[in-house]
């Protein structure tokens, strides 16, 4: 891609997954979603890299790991413009944008403090009502959450 900034060098991985075009401030959320703190193999992180599309972006490279569909859906919620690159022997063999699911369960918190999901131990569920920017309605209290309000559960 032409928007890869040549001035930054983030060590390449031989086999694994590269998640690119993450909004810079969501980089560590991706780390959390994928539970990478416990990952035994190489991980390289880039943050606040220049991006034409996002201004500043984050990139996460994970050696020896493929993502499940559920994990990709979760990333889509906080990074709707992210791309997932599958790496084999240092080259990209597959590149795909994430796709926002229609509903997502137990990924984010409801920002309404008086919502039942914040009062009792139950899973959250949101229905996507708008894209670019993302907005989603809480299944329980019906509060509409805007993309910038999103906080992981």
């Amino acid at each position: 891609m032409t928007d890869r900034p040549p001035e930054y060098k983030i060590s390449a991985i031989r086999d694994g997954t590269v998640i690119d075009h993450i909004p810079a401030e969501r980089t560590f959320d991706v780390v959390d979603i994928l539970n990478l703190r416990a990952h035994p193999d190489v991980i390289s992180l880039g943050m606040n890299l220049k991006s034409k599309q996002l201004g500043k972006k984050g990139i996460v490279k994970i050696a020896g790991r493929e993502l499940t569909k559920e994990e990709v859906d979760e990333i889509a919620v906080i990074a709707p413009k992210a791309t997932i690159n599958i790496i084999k022997d240092f080259s990209v063999i597959k590149k795909e944008p994430v796709a926002l699911p229609e509903h997502f369960s137990n990924i984010i918190r409801c920002p309404n403090p008086n919502c039942i999901t914040n009062k009792q131990k139950i899973s959250t569920l949101f229905h996507v009502v708008g894209q670019e920017p993302l907005s989603a309605a809480c299944h329980y209290c019906e509060r509409v959450v805007e993309e910038k309000e999103i906080v992981l559960k």
């Binding site: 039942i116 009792q120 131990k121 139950i122 329980y140 209290c141």
Partner: protein, 308 residues
């Protein structure tokens, strides 16, 4: 036919209703009102679970159920139940579903009704979940407009008062968006309709305008829906007094409004409407409250499969 699809259904949010379903509920209510059926729900038990007190809503449901021959059990505040002892709502509902055929729930927490509906295998009716939804109120509001005006299309509705926190206003505006209505939102700056709803209505091609001046739009209105301005919304009591005085309506309104204007209010009122208006044909708020009975009868009969 839409009617049969109500059997076993939960009634949680006005957003779950299509236009056809709204009209169907209103037509069943009309039939039950003109042709009462005192044993329609004979042998059926309603569990009336009021985790938060609301005397008028609780009594309206109980009266509706009894007038069609059903029984009512339940409680009127959570203090008396195991909920106070830390039982989860889920567990409470799981127990009570075996005691009754239908559940009505009122709760101060938003989303409590939807969660209860997931727990229960019997129909659950939301009688208010915090600031979120109170669908039978919205249905009785629609029913009132239909009865008073003979139609739901080609009407101009004004909402006056606390439009920021007013749950009834938010839900009724969304319900009205199924019909050809124009809406005026009349409120002080601090209590304006949330922009989310304005955008949603515009998306649905509903002409809606905002103003802080009732007099300037009174001539256009077929319906004026007045809501309570609650003192606790104002940090400064003087500000509250000022708003209260500015948004109080009395008989002088009738001199500048359409002759057929109808004035609605979800009640209780706290000074927004001069009682001198009560005996005018324009005041419909007491009839509006009475319309809760046929609407709740219709909902109970429909979800229990006893009305088509």
């Amino acid at each position: 036919m839409a009617g049969t699809s109500f059997q076993g259904r939960d009634v949680i949010s006005i957003n779950d209703f299509s236009k056809e379903e709204l009209l169907h509920v209103l037509s069943v209510a009309k039939k039950l009102e003109s042709n009462p059926q005192p044993s329609l729900l004979k042998g059926k038990i309603l569990a009336s679970l009021f985790f938060e007190p609301s005397t008028r809503t609780r009594l309206s449901f109980a009266s509706a159920m009894k007038r069609v021959g059903g029984d009512v059990i339940g409680f009127s505040q959570a203090e008396t139940t195991s909920v106070k002892k830390g039982e989860t709502l889920w567990d409470t509902i799981k127990m009570i579903e075996h005691y009754s055929d239908v559940i009505v729930i009122r709760h101060s927490v938003e989303g409590a009704a939807r969660l209860s509906a997931e727990a229960a295998s019997i129909p659950v009716i939301n009688a208010g979940d915090g600031a979120n939804q109170h669908p039978t109120q919205t249905l009785l509001d629609l029913y009132t407009i239909l009865k008073e005006k003979g139609k739901l299309d080609n009407l101009t509705i004004g909402f006056l008062g606390d439009l920021k926190y007013g749950r009834t206003v938010h839900s009724l505006a969304i319900a009205l968006s199924h019909f050809k209505t124009s809406i005026y939102f009349i409120a002080p700056e601090a209590l304006r309709m949330p922009s989310y709803y304005i955008q949603e209505l515009k998306k649905r091609k509903i002409p809606c305008r905002e103003t802080s001046d009732l007099d300037s739009v009174a001539k256009q209105l077929d319906i004026l829906y007045v809501t309570r301005i609650q003192e606790e919304r104002f940090p400064d009591p003087l500000e509250y007094q000022k708003f209260k005085a500015g948004y109080r309506i009395d008989r002088s309104l009738l001199k500048i409004s359409k002759p057929g204007i109808r004035i609605m209010h979800p009640l209780p009122r706290v000074g927004e409407i001069d009682p001198a208006l009560d005996e005018t044909p324009n005041a419909v708020y007491f009839r509006q409250a009475a319309n809760g009975i046929p609407i709740r009868q219709a909902i109970l009969a429909l979800v229990l499969g006893k009305a088509k």
